[in-house]
Symmetry: C2
Subunit: 195 residues, 2 copies
DNA sequence: CCAGAGGTTGACTCCGGGTACACCACATTC
DNA sequence: GAATGTGGTGTACCCGGAGTCAACCTCTGG
């Protein structure tokens, strides 16, 4: 019976609560109640609530990047172009989840708008990681200007998430996917499909 | 000497603070200090902080819609297609402002994620107003499917704002504008320009 | 055997949202 | 000329959340 260490349980439980209700809206006590420890115990794991948030963002960044890349590899086979397109299929799957509340990292960015804030930094890193991954796929796909395509696709991804979050467009992922396919085709040439 | 009524000053000052630092991050006291009144006086104007936020969102929705439509009419002349494109020029101007901190309404949506929350409702209304305006322009521009074009353009607008807010793409408006022009052309026919 | 990690209880500070009460000044209206 | 409403003031207060502190417990490994 290897018990799940408290630190992990804190990261999980607090992450879920923050995602559902927002970072500032969730009190420490609420987190401590669900995990079942006391305040003093908490402060032996994390220096502050902010520290906890940073740890959550780092942890989820890593986890989500792995999950997303795995999904993309499976759905996109060995075709970099198809993999780029799979990114939007992933979004569609995600948006169908009734628990969807936007992107944790984008949410963190708006709740902690100061650029010096460690939380803000941690949240921005996720965007950079995703952009780097897209950039690599764009290069592999033979895009004429991988950088430009990356900015376009990232804007579509961000826009789809924010649109769906706003509640206006329930099929935001499909909307974005249609645009993405056009962009990918025109950037990589209409036919060629490379590794 | 018609003094600016306190209610207006509260809306302005609190709106600015909320935009800069976030809704939950700004305390009532901070607002009261900048306006120069006491807590008791505040509660004679608004029932609560939430009530104040709703009033600010309503107020700014109206103001921003007027400003945006005026900008679009000036830059787009009497050409609905050019007016749609002008929307992205407006974004570019906005993004150049160093005070840019994202969209107040999108920010409100992430800080108050509960759909029942009056603040959430008020923030969503702004998106609906803007979408309605875009829809009308899309119809005037002779789009084959105005609804589809509206969803695409709204996604680009939202994506540009969120991308710029994320800090990844400083030229997000240009990126979105390029995509928008293609979409508008293909939806309305490559040449025709109507009122 | 002892140190250290992870835990407990309980009391405490400070700050923010919100309330209650008593009071003041001025303009309008009966 | 008194009454009332509006927009203020000041002070004292309650509650909940973040964070601190001190004293103590228990299990585990060198």
């Amino acid at each position: 019976m290897t018990q799940v260490p408290t630190r992990e349980r804190l990261l999980d439980a607090a992450g879920d609560l923050f995602y559902k209700h927002g970072f500032q809206a969730v009190g420490l006590d609420q987190i401590l109640d669900t995990v079942g420890i006391t305040k003093t115990a908490f402060y032996k794991h994390f220096a502050s609530k902010d520290d906890l948030i940073v740890a959550i963002l780092d942890h989820r960044d890593q986890r989500e990047m792995e999950e997303w890349m795995a999904y993309i590899r499976i759905r996109g086979r060995d075709d970099a172009r198809r993999q780029l397109e799979a990114l939007f299929e992933l979004l569609d799957d995600w948006f169908k989840n009734p628990e969807f509340r936007g992107c944790l990292f984008l949410n963190a960015l708006t709740e902690f708008p100061s650029e010096n804030d460690p939380i803000n930094r941690a949240a921005r890193k996720h965007g950079e990681h995703l952009a780097a991954a897209v950039m690599e796929l764009a290069s592999h796909a033979g895009a004429a200007e991988p950088g430009a395509l990356t900015e376009q696709l990232m804007l579509l991804v961000t826009g789809a998430i924010a649109s769906r979050h706003r509640g206006g467009d329930l099929d935001a992922a499909k909307t974005a996917e249609a645009m993405a396919k056009v962009l990918i085709s025109s950037a990589c040439g209409p036919a060629a499909r490379r590794r």
